[in-house]
Symmetry: C2
Subunit: 259 residues, 2 copies
């Protein structure tokens, strides 16, 4: 790392008051100069949503002489990154970290995740980025155990250089320190949610639904994030936002599109 | 195609009353048995958001003897697909089509797009899927020109077989029929939005922002969707939802994660 402290943008999707965000702030405050811009309310499962049909508000939460500058934002995690980069930060940050999410963002969850979408948005804007998530939905989950791992992953990412167009999706198993075997580079497991909507009735007799479901991992590979997490590792998946399925192009070119 | 009419699920992100959806219904009604489940209000730029912290409502819009069964849904485009598959359809559909979006979903727009997220959600659930978009934001855009192309692309997709884990992102240039050169398989152009937030004040003097920006294509390749659209082609990009950046794995494995 250079002697100038790196500028680190911190965001999340559970909102500015989430304990997971506070844990991330603790670690980053030892590494760099930090700015927090996080949603003013929970924004889980917002995917890569942006606010185009509504106004956006920023609230400065920190005072003039506070060490850490903090803002809350009325928008989505992706809005937070866009506003931070364009309206708050004087220069492009050296790193954007998102999380620590209360709950898993492994496997297909990466695509629904506000935490990871914030990291991906930073990546699109050319900022090295990492999303951190813990496999524990509890608001009072234990984030202490993972702090040394967060520090290690952050320092490695700052010292080395993430390839252009790649951000990291880091998930932590819900384990004590002694039971974590290490950090493992993985691929995204092929898995999905099998929905079981919970159908109910309003007091007025109108049907409504709650989205509920069961996570089903169809992937038996031992190189996946699901395998790593189930076997005591911290999983790190390199994530890209060029969604082109290059392997499908030769086949598609044999179809009779223009006849 | 088999003699049994294919079952086609239709959705979008501009809402159930959008002319683009009506154009898609017109074409699909000639090809298959169709069910429409679309948002009850515009849901543009919702990305892959799902509704986990709120209730979901379905409204059946069609009557008992109507040829086309139509529902509106209070949720996001992804919620529409999940509810359709799990609560409305008797069997897994043979195809899901989303759109026609009023506005481009080429290049990086795929990641913000509710239209494409609905198609991707269908893909995750194992349903062949296509998202259609027109490079014209006008509510009264001309969707007639593209109908033969939509038909051709849909029939090709039904007759051939999309590889598992791949959905199609189709964009139409804003051109008359004579000026469209054909259909072209492309890759996603490397491009981004450069934000220019429009900062205003409420009547009470509080600052707020509108997200605004300029689309910047940094990609000079002639195999991209942006190139194809600028040169008079309908662009078709195969899109995947395994986001793993496999090319980055060897490099990341040289980092000192566990020292």
């Amino acid at each position: 790392m250079s002697k100038v402290k790196p500028l680190i943008l911190i965001t999340n999707d559970d909102g500015v008051s989430a304990p997971g965000l506070r844990a991330l702030i603790d670690v980053m405050a030892e590494i760099g100069e930090i700015i927090v811009v996080a949603p003013d309310k929970p924004q889980s499962a917002m995917g890569h949503a942006i606010t185009t049909n509504n106004t956006l508000y920023l609230n400065k939460l920190s005072k003039e002489n506070d060490v850490i500058t903090e803002y809350s934002c009325s928008g989505t995690p992706v809005d937070c990154v866009k506003l931070a980069v364009n309206e708050i930060l004087k220069r492009k940050p050296d790193l954007c970290v998102s999380g620590v999410n209360h709950g898993s963002n492994s496997s297909i969850n990466v695509i629904y995740s506000g935490t990871m979408s914030a990291a991906v948005e930073a990546g699109i804007e050319g900022i090295p980025a990492i999303g951190f998530s813990l496999l524990d939905f509890d608001w009072n989950a234990d984030f202490e155990t993972m702090k040394p791992f967060i520090r290690k992953i952050t320092v490695e990412t700052l010292e080395n250089k993430l390839p252009q167009g790649v951000v990291l999706n880091v998930n932590f198993p819900k384990l004590t320190k002694e039971n974590i075997k290490g950090i493992k580079i993985c691929r995204q497991a092929k898995a999905m949610w099998v929905e079981k909507f919970d159908k109910r009735q309003t007091p007025q007799g109108r049907d409504y639904y709650w989205l509920a479901g069961e996570f089903v991992n169809q992937d038996k590979g031992e190189d996946t994030d699901e395998w790593a997490l189930a076997n005591g590792y911290v999983s790190v998946v390199p994530v890209q936002f060029d969604l082109t399925a290059y392997h499908a192009t030769p086949l598609l070119n044999t179809w009779k599109w223009n006849e």
